[in-house]
Each structure stands twice: as C-alpha cells, then as structure tokens.
C-alpha cells in the first residue's frame, strides 16, 4: 500500500551508480595506499633486517628430528634404543654439479658403481630446497677421515652425526618389536611432511610400526643463519622437538629366551600370555633374524638370502602362520556343546573307533582305531576322542559352532597392538556360499569339531582361545605394550565376554584339560611328570599342505616337511591360571610328544624360582591339587 508503482528512472539509476563509482574509487585508492604502506614497512623500515637475512645468505629453517622413544621389556631391559651413528649427507644446491661430486665420493671412499646408483636415487628423493639428504650411513672411522681429507673437493657434503635405531637384543624380538627402515617413496606420500621433515627412518613392522605415531614424537626446528657454504653462523630461533614416548613391553626377555631354548632350534612358534590381563609374556617365531640389518638399509644380497630361505625367517608364524587348530580347539568346542545343551558333563557316546552320519556310509575315524568304548566329556578331552566331538559337532550344527568359535576369536583379529595380524578363518554357511558357491555339507561340520577342514587359526588365536577357557570367558585382547609413558593402552574395540548359561561349564572343561596332563590315560601325561603345579592342556596336530610341484629340495627334507605340525596349548596353575602357552612346532608330528614339553618348559621358566620350586605368588591351594590327583 505504501509502495507506489515504480517506474524506471534512468536518471536516478545513473546518479546512484555514479555515487557508488566515486565511493569505489576512493576505496581503491585507500586500499592501494594500505598496500604501499605495507611494502614501505617491509622494504624501507625493515630493509636492514631482510637484507641481512638475504645477503648474508640466508635464513634457513632446519628441522630437528625428535628422539625416538625407547622400548623396554617388562623388567626394564632395553630392547630398542638409539645409537649415534655418522652418516654422509649432501645438499644439492650447495654442491654445484652434484653428479660430479657423487663421482668424487665414490672415488674417495672406493665404492662401487652400484653404490653410486643408490646414492643418486637417494638424492632424487630430496624434498625441500637446501635440505641435506643422507646418502651413506654407518660411516667407519676411516671413511670419515677420507672425507675430511678430501673436503675441499666435496662442496655441500658433510659428515653428520645422527641417532640410529639399535636393537641390542638382536633376533630375540624381531617378530614382536619389528624393525625400522628408511622411509620409502610410497610412505613419503602418506606421511605428514612437516612432522617427518627431519626424519629419515620409520617403523616398518611390529611395535615399531604399530606405535609409530607415539614413538616418533613431534618435530622441532631452528631458524638459523648460514653462510654461503652452508655453515651455521647463528641460531635465530629454536623450538625444541618433543621426544617420542617410551614403551614398556609386557614381554619378558628371560621367558623369551627360555621359550626359544625350549623350541631348541626347531622351526615353530611360542606365545605365552597372562590370561588375566592379556599381556603377552613371550612371543617367539623361529627362525628369526637380526633386525639391525634393516635399519640402515639391508644389502640386496642379504635380503634375498633371508627372503628366499626355505626356513622363512622373515615369516611371523605367531601372527601370520595359519594352521588348522586340530584337537587344540576341542576345549572351546566342548564349551559350545555344553552351553548349547547338546551334551552334558555326564552324557556319553559309544566309540567303536569311528563315527557314521545317519544315512551315510562314510566312516569318520577316531585317531585310536580300536575305539575308547563309552566316552563322557572328561574322557573325551583327556583322550582327545574324535568320535565324541564328531557327535557333538553334528548335534550342534555349523551355525552354532561357527558362532561360538567366533566368540573365541577364531576368524578375527584378536590382538590389540600387533601389526598385520592375520584374522584366520572360521567357516560358515555364508562363507562357503560366498567363496565356493556351494552348500554346506554335514560332513564338514564333523571335521570342524576336531579342528580340521577349512578352519584356520594363528598360534596367537589358539593362545587367546585357551586364555578364554582359563579366564572363564573374560576377554582381554593380547597386547605387547604394557604401557606407553606409563599409560596402559586402551582397547577401543573390546570383544564381548563369553557368558555361559551355566558358568560351572568352564570348570568342567578345565578339569578335562587337567586330565590330559595328569590323568592316568592323559595324552600328554609324560609332559607333566614332576610338575610342581597343576597344568591344564590340550594337544593337537595340523596337517601340512603338500609342497608345491616343481620345487626342488633334498629328498630327506621334503620328507620332513611333509610331516604334520605339532600343536599344544595349556595354562597353569590350572585352578588359578597365571600363564597361557600356545606352541606350534613345524613338522613336529606329535602335539603331546613334541609340543607339550615346550609348553611345560615355558611354564616352568615362568612359575618356578631358581631352585625349581613354585614361586610363592603362584602357589595354589594344595587341597585342589590333592583331590584332582586322586582321579
């Protein structure tokens, strides 16, 4: 209503725009004056300052790499530290014809053309202008002297002291702590370029890799004034780096050594952990290798030797080795059967030496061809009776079996802080349909009941599944780091505890496992002779996949490598478990004969004092021991 009809008034529009043009012109002039004032400030008032920086060649920002965190075992023994080492670095911009300078270096140090190729590659990885690039590490006294004498021919070349990772324990922790190596081009792309601007090495595997961010720390820098030759004249400003965090491992070097000794040079894996906390006490994968080789760049020949060795020292058997769990899974399967109600502690199965599915005439054999007669749960575990578990698995069915095994960690990553752990495999109907496009056969459920078939697990998973039996279903993810700078690692993705309808089922299975060690007909009773404490255990064998056609080995070796892998899992003291041990001996054939003694030795090393007596803190009530022995 108050709005009159608007008619375009060209004269008024023009006036309006003209007004804005005048305002715009004033603003432009004013802002250009601001720019000129700024330039006046930089070029006239601050001229001296900038000119000094520029003329005296020049201000540099030098990154100061943080000191990497140290790694200790649980008793404070150093596992990884940093050692000063001299390296040769070169600044391309100061070297003039840097290719020719490289030639001089090769000549002075009497190196080979291959070395020169590597130097050139390293030079080309230089990132920022005027950044010194390290090209040769671990200089010897003589090499340093040679460089010093020829310094005048080597513009832009310096001998630099820097800290380099060192593993004083050598091969002991190569598979758990891992090692560091030079940052490669692929890693360069994903790293924070600022934080890593002074860093040339990075954790490649194990703890070094998993806790890279914590171990590395925060880069510092200094602004320095240098002369034309690159020598630092004065430091203008310095911000200190924040050193990386120290890590205390849960590993115990003495137990580690004892476990290695127990394996006695055989290929295999040992994991020992504390079921109450998930702390890994020992982690052995044999054969191992010296991680120090990798720190400053392993030679191609040495690497090829490690990589191509038939014993596969680089292969982490604890985390990456996949084996059918065999009979070691029976305690977990028994828990599943009890909880699902398909068996009870007293229900019995008649074993004629084999099991037959109704309407099929295929015989699934017990390992003991003559049969064990009537078998209850206790006997089934003690005797590792296959027929009983065929029957149990059949009644349980694949769906429930698969679900229970998943709760025990089979088919998924169980660790908290281990790099490149393999998830293993727990088959299910869906898995078979998706990967094989086939329906599930009832026979396949049967052999899963004794840990054969498609099922695959790592020694670490077997240790964890056993720890769950020992710890009555309470989940603690196995972890290697006890604390980072005093702080315990947090499990951000905890597994749900296994809660049984009748918690006393744990005790029943535990009892069966004790019978394996201490019962009159226990399969591993020899390994428990003279034990100061009650052990619960279970043996197993894993069939070996045939060696590929066309590979040439010694005839005797081929024979040996076709043998089954020996497995054994156990915990002790049985009534108040302090240690869980899982052992895999490659081609060891007999779980109870070969792997069980290894388990026993590791337990002894942990639980007994120097005089061979049970440490006071691990002593369990004698009454329990006495009653158990009567059976």
């Amino acid at each position: 209503m108050s709005q009159p009809i608007r008619i375009k008034d060209h004269e008024k529009d023009a006036r309006l725009v003209r007004g804005r043009v005048v305002f715009g012109a004033i603003a432009v002039v004013a802002l250009i004056c601001v720019l000129i004032a700024r330039l006046y400030y930089l070029q006239v008032i601050q001229y001296e300052y900038h000119s000094t920086l520029s003329e005296n060649n020049r201000v540099h920002v030098q990154p100061i790499p943080p000191t990497r965190g140290l790694i200790f075992d649980r008793n404070g023994v150093v596992v990884a530290d940093n050692r000063p080492s001299f390296s040769l670095s070169m600044t391309r911009e100061r070297s003039g014809d840097w290719q020719q300078v490289l030639d001089v270096i090769v000549e002075v140090l009497q190196l080979t053309p291959e070395d020169r190729v590597i130097f050139e590659k390293r030079m080309r990885q230089g990132r920022r202008p005027f950044e010194p690039v390290p090209i040769l590490f671990e200089l010897s006294e003589e090499q340093i002297a040679r460089i010093a004498v020829n310094q005048f021919r080597l513009p832009g070349v310096e001998v630099v002291a820097q800290l380099v990772r060192h593993y004083p324990q050598g091969a002991h922790f190569a598979h758990s702590v891992g090692y560091m190596g030079r940052i490669n081009e692929k890693e360069l792309k994903t790293l924070d370029p600022v934080n890593y601007s002074g860093t040339h090495h990075i954790g490649k595997t194990g703890i070094e890799r998993f806790y890279e961010a914590e171990l590395h720390g925060q880069v510092g820098y200094e602004e320095v004034e240098t002369n034309a030759r690159g020598r630092v004249l004065r430091v203008l400003k310095r911000t200190d780096p924040v050193p990386g965090k120290d890590i205390v491992l849960s590993l115990d070097i003495k137990l580690q050594e004892a476990a290695e000794a127990a394996l006695g040079g055989r290929r295999g894996a040992v994991v020992a952990l504390d079921p109450k906390t998930g702390e890994v006490l020992a982690m052995v994968s044999q054969p191992s290798f010296d991680p120090n080789l990798f720190v400053t760049g392993i030679s191609f020949k040495a690497y090829a030797e490690l990589r191509d060795s038939i014993d596969r020292p680089l292969f982490n058997r604890v985390l990456r080795g996949l084996y059918p769990p065999g009979s070691t899974i029976k305690p977990a399967v028994a828990i599943a059967g009890l909880d699902a109600g398909v068996v009870t502690a007293s229900s019995r199965v008649f074993d004629p030496g084999y099991y037959m599915l109704p309407n099929y005439d295929h015989k699934y054999r017990n390992w003991n061809r003559t049969g064990d007669g009537f078998v209850d749960l206790d006997t089934a575990i003690m005797r590792s009776n296959d027929t009983y578990f065929y029957d149990l698995a059949h009644k349980l069915g694949i769906d429930r079996l698969s679900a229970y095994m998943n709760k025990f960690g089979i088919g998924q990553k169980v660790s908290l802080d281990m790099f490149e752990e393999s998830p293993g495999l727990m088959p299910s109907r869906e898995w078979k349909r998706a990967t094989r496009r086939q329906a599930w056969f009832p026979g396949e459920t049967l052999i899963l009941g004794i840990g054969q078939g498609y099922m695959q697990s790592t020694p670490l998973q077997l240790a964890q599944a056993t720890a769950l039996v020992a710890n009555k279903g309470v989940w603690n993810r196995p972890h290697l780091a006890k604390s980072l700078e005093g702080v315990k690692p947090v499990d951000e993705n905890p597994m749900p505890d296994i809660i049984l309808r009748d918690p006393s089922d744990w005790t029943k299975v535990n009892h069966g496992m004790q019978q394996v060690m201490h019962g009159a007909r226990g399969t591993a009773r020899k390994a428990a002779i003279g034990a100061q404490y009650r052990i619960a255990g279970k043996s197993g064998t894993a069939q070996v996949v045939a060696i590929k056609q066309g590979e040439k080995y010694d005839r005797s070796k081929v024979q040996e490598r076709h043998r089954d892998h020996a497995l054994f899992v156990g915990f002790a003291p049985a009534d108040d478990p302090k240690i869980v041990v899982s052992v895999m001996v490659e081609n060891g054939e007999s779980g109870s004969g070969v792997a069980a003694p290894v388990v026993r030795q590791v337990m002894d090393a942990w639980l007994l004092d120097q005089d061979g007596r049970l440490k006071a803190e691990y002593a369990s009530p004698i009454s329990a021991e006495a009653t158990a022995r009567d059976e």
């Binding site: 012109a25 432009v28 720019l35 330039l39 930089l42 520029s54 003329e55 601007s197």
Partner: protein
C-alpha cells in the same frame, strides 16, 4: 523530412571521424595500459622462471590468444550479451556440477573439464565473467536500489556456483566469483545498512565455516597467516620467504635477474602466485609502485567507463568487473606481503598462467564493448 536528413548526415560525420580503433571497438587507453603490463610481465617472468624462454613463449602465446578473444568479445553489443547471459550462466553451473561429480568419482579435487584431444578448461574461469554479468542482467531489469527480494535472488544466483567452487576445493577462485557478484549489488546501490548488517553477520558465519565447511588445509592456511612462524617448515615457509624477498629489495631493488631469494629456489611458486616477490626483490618499492600505478590507471579507466555507460546493464557489469579486478590485485599483493591469508589468487597479467590471462583479457573485452557500443545519437 528535413530533420531526418540532418540526422543521417550527422551520423555520417561521426562515422567518418571514427578512427580505426573505434571501428574495431577498442578502447585506446585500456589497450596501451594492457600492452605495457604485458611487456613488463614478460620481463619479470623471464627472471622469475630462471630465464626460461620456453615459459616466456607460452605466456606470450597466451597473451596473443587473450588479445584476440578480447577483440572478438568487444565486437558484441552489450545488449546481445545480456540476451545470452542467462543461458551462459545455466551452462556454467551445469559444467561445475559435472566437475563436482567427476571430482568425487576420481576421489580427489578436480577443477578441470577434460575431453582429451578436444578441450581442457576450468568452468570456474568462465564464471568469473558470467557471474557479474548474470547479476547485472537480473538487476538491470529491476528498480534500483534493489529490493530485499531481488537481493535474495541475486545472492542465490551467486551462492550456487560459489558453493560448487568451494567444494572443488578452490578458495581463491570462489572468493573472486563471490566478489564479482557482490560488486554488482554494490554498484546497483545496495542499501548501506544492509551491507553493514551483512558485515556484522559475517563474524558468526565465519565461525560456523571454520568448524563445518573448511578443509584442514584451508584452516591451516589461516592459522599460518595469523602466525606464519608457527609452521615454518610447512605453509609458513612461503610467507617468510616472500617477505624476506620483498624486504631485501629495498627502495630500488637488486636489479633485474639479480634477485637471490627467488633464484636460489628459496621462494616457492615464484613465477605464479608469488611473482610479486620477485618484482619486489629485483625492482624494489619503485618497481611495485610503478606496477600499482598502472593498475590504478586501468581501474580508473574502468570506473570512467562505468560512469559513462549508457545502459544500466553496462554500468553494473563494468563497475563489477573493474572492482573485481582490483580485488585480484589487492588479495594477491596482500597475501604475498603477509597482510592476507594465502589463497590461490594470481597477480593479474604478471603471474604465469594462460587461463587467467585469457579470462582477464576477455573481461577487458567486455569493458571495451560497453564503452564503444554507446549510441552516438543519444549524446547529440
């Protein structure tokens, strides 16, 4: 009858008086200033690029292409342009959408439309001219000063391409496009109290942008701007070094080809966004002031063209293009000298880069068209 004769003859006189330049619809003063800038640009670029003839030849070629497109555009009447602007705007937005979708499929930032062997361009470049033209077209049909509703629609028209370019992500270009559209509103007499209230509202909006929209690298740039020394190994490096380069130039500079900072690779991007640092180091305060003078003359001429434009569309468009040009200059020099955040805005006509050259010269072609297609009769 008699009257009609007179009219004809007077137009005839005008046509005879018209010089070659006027017949080509070219504005003399603008052309002279642009040629001076072109020559100066090649000088500085030769030094900044480390005496690369190759780069120089490319830049000169781009200049040639730009001049041709400027002359071609100057031939179109503003009325003709106004007719096709809406269609151009729609196409531009569609192309930006295409880039957006392609970019997300490629899992990364893409600013280009690339049909191999046929054409490769940035749709956002087009929008630099189309954006002010669209708003000018829209507002020229309304009463001035614009009503709230029309301001709202204008802002919507600006907002869509702006948002798409921010997403690319290309903060520099999106800000230039925002400026292009906003200056039309300003020239159209947007009420002061609205301008002031928008400026007041900008504070909470920028806080929201910080937390919800900006990419980490953009936040990092602003943080680095506020305290460049806080990150001297990363983004702060550019500013520290460019300040040192400019500052060490002093009043008269170190002389052509004698700059040390830029030649020793201290200065990153010395031939593109940071080229003013090379100019400042080698020609000093005097050199930069001379450049600023030329820019000032260009802007002055642009504002004269704005004031003399006959149609409202012409006025609004010419004013917005001129003011946006100034934004280029101010933002670039401001950022290199450490006054403003580092957003990727090239220094007009001096920085190396063909696309921005062609766009800028096309914009001047539009200015020339607005100026040279005025009806002589109307003034008699």
């Amino acid at each position: 009858m008699n009257n009609f004769d007179r009219m004809l003859s007077s137009e005839d006189v005008m046509r005879r008086r018209a010089t070659l330049l006027q017949r080509l619809h070219i504005d003399g003063p603008l052309l002279v200033l642009l040629l001076i800038l072109a020559a100066g640009s090649l000088f500085v670029l030769y030094s900044a690029s480390g005496k690369s003839w190759d780069l120089l030849a490319k830049q000169a070629t781009s200049f040639g292409i730009g001049l041709v497109s400027m002359i071609v555009i100057a031939q179109f009447e503003p009325r003709f342009m106004a007719r096709w602007v809406p269609l151009g705007y729609v196409i531009g937005v569609v192309l930006l959408l295409v880039v957006d979708i392609m970019g997300h499929n490629a899992m990364g930032a893409t600013r280009w439309i690339n049909i191999p062997g046929v054409i490769r361009f940035q749709p956002s470049e087009f929008m630099k001219i189309l954006m002010p033209a669209t708003i000018a077209w829209y507002l020229s049909k309304r009463t001035l000063p614009p009503q709230l509703k029309h301001v709202g629609i204008s802002l919507l028209l600006i907002g869509v391409p702006f948002a798409l370019i921010v997403r690319q992500p290309d903060l520099g270009t999106s800000l230039l496009i925002l400026a292009g559209g906003a200056f039309v509103l300003f020239m159209g007499g947007l009420r002061w109290r609205w301008i002031l209230s928008v400026l007041a509202a900008a504070i909470p909006v920028s806080v929201a942008m910080w937390f919800f929209i900006m990419h980490d690298y953009q936040k990092q740039r602003i943080l680095t701007f506020l305290d460049p020394e806080s990150d001297p190994l990363g983004t702060g490096w550019n500013i520290i070094q460019s300040k040192a380069a400019i500052g060490s130039g002093g009043v008269f500079g170190k002389g052509w080809l004698l700059g040390t900072q830029s030649h020793l690779d201290f200065l990153p991007e010395s031939h593109t966004d940071f080229i003013i640092a090379v100019l400042g180091e080698e020609f000093g305060l005097v050199g930069i002031c001379a450049l600023l003078l030329i820019y000032l003359l260009l802007i002055g001429r642009g504002l004269v063209i704005t004031a003399q434009a006959q149609t409202l569309f012409g006025k609004l468009l010419a004013g917005a293009l001129t003011m946006t040009f100034f934004v280029y200059v101010f933002v670039n020099i401001g950022m290199v000298s450490g006054l403003l955040p580092v957003v990727g805005v090239p220094l007009p006509f001096i920085s190396y880069g063909g696309t921005s050259l062609v766009t800028l010269l096309s914009a001047f072609g539009v200015l020339m068209s607005i100026h040279t297609h005025r009806k002589w009769i109307a003034q008699v």
